[in-house]
């Protein structure tokens, strides 16, 4: 009966508690079968722990680091190129929006504001809201496409006001 308990402890060895270790030591002093089982387990663990990964020398690590740096640099360059392209597109769209504003400045706005919330805003507040909207995280092109002529002209006017004030 005790051998069964000891066998279960050996099964979990070396993940055993201090009390289990004491019990084990006491038992194997008297039981040859369990002592042999524990010895075998220890030798197997020793053999398994001798298995080490193939070493990597300094030159290989230097090559590793160099290759990694090149990948990271290439990633940084790609990100930078995309940012520049986006900036150019956004600038172009802003210029276009400003052009639309200039061409429609002398016209009587014939557009009704569709949203009730928007209609209740004062023009200045609405202009500021439009700037925030234009600065939000959606692609600028999509954002501007959703604005009607009145909203576009108000956006341009608000940008002009803000830039004039700065």
């Amino acid at each position: 009966m005790l051998c069964e308990r000891i066998s279960e402890i050996i099964y979990r060895y070396p993940d055993i508690t201090d009390d289990e270790m004491l019990l084990l030591e006491k038992h194997i002093a008297e039981c040859e079968t369990c002592r042999d089982a524990l010895e075998e387990k220890k030798r197997v663990l020793e053999l398994a722990s001798a298995y080490r990964p193939e070493p990597v020398d300094e030159m290989e690590w230097a090559y590793f680091q160099d290759a990694l740096n090149r990948r990271i640099d290439s990633l940084t360059r790609r990100k930078s190129a995309v940012l520049h392209a986006l900036l150019a597109v956004e600038t172009g769209i802003l210029v276009l929006a400003f052009g639309v504003f200039i061409s429609s400045k002398n016209r009587t706005p014939s557009v009704e504001v569709t949203s009730k919330e928007v209609a209740s805003c004062e023009e200045d507040e609405f202009g500021e809201a439009l700037i925030k909207y234009a600065e939000s995280s959606f692609p600028l092109e999509e954002r501007l496409a959703l604005l009607d002529e009145y909203e576009l002209s108000l956006l341009a006017e608000s940008i002009e006001k803000r830039c004039g004030g700065e």
Partner: protein, 175 residues
């Protein structure tokens, strides 16, 4: 590396400081390589995966949450990358693996031992091998492995003891 120094390096790396990131790489590359090696059993593959691990870590370092350790975070990336690699790799017949030529620092016995243990570890199903590698070779606590894998601690313990028993049965004739 001290926790305070590591935290500072991670913070700098998050802001894009490549030198700080490079110091983190130097600190952990060997541990990550060893972990990958035990999982994929090939030096060249383990080095490639290790490089992927650090490249992905650099790319997503802003997503690293400081409440876990940086090393554990790297291990979780290494674990996923190794698993992807093993899924893609054609199953290998262990009998076909050539016995590599021992170099000057290794005896034939070392080489034989490595092959025997490697064959035994490789013959374990992935989820058993993973816990064996993390616990036995990586020295991680069950709680840390549980955090990494999302598995229950008792399940992990059962897998670990089963894996050790498997090794015992495979290697007993050689000890």
């Amino acid at each position: 590396m001290e926790k305070g120094v590591e935290d500072r390096l991670v913070e700098l790396a998050r802001k894009g400081d490549k030198v700080a990131f490079s110091k983190l790489v130097t600190t952990y590359r060997e541990k990550i390589y060893n972990f990958c090696f035990y999982l994929v059993s090939d030096k060249s593959d383990a080095l490639d995966i290790t490089q992927d691990v650090f490249f992905n870590a650099y790319r997503s370092i802003k997503r690293f949450k400081a409440n876990s350790s940086f090393y554990t975070w790297l291990l979780s990336i290494a674990r996923n990358r190794s698993a992807d690699f093993l899924r893609r790799r054609k199953p290998e017949n262990i009998e076909d693996i050539p016995l590599s030529q021992p170099d000057n620092t290794q005896s034939v016995d070392d080489n034989r031992t490595r092959l025997l243990v490697r064959a035994s570890v490789d013959s374990l199903p992935a989820k058993y091998r993973e816990v064996l590698v993390m616990r036995f070779y990586g020295g991680l606590k069950f709680a840390e492995i549980s955090e990494l894998t999302g598995e229950n601690i008792n399940t992990l313990k059962t897998r670990f003891y089963t894996a050790l028993e498997h090794l015992r049965k495979r290697l007993r004739r050689y000890v």
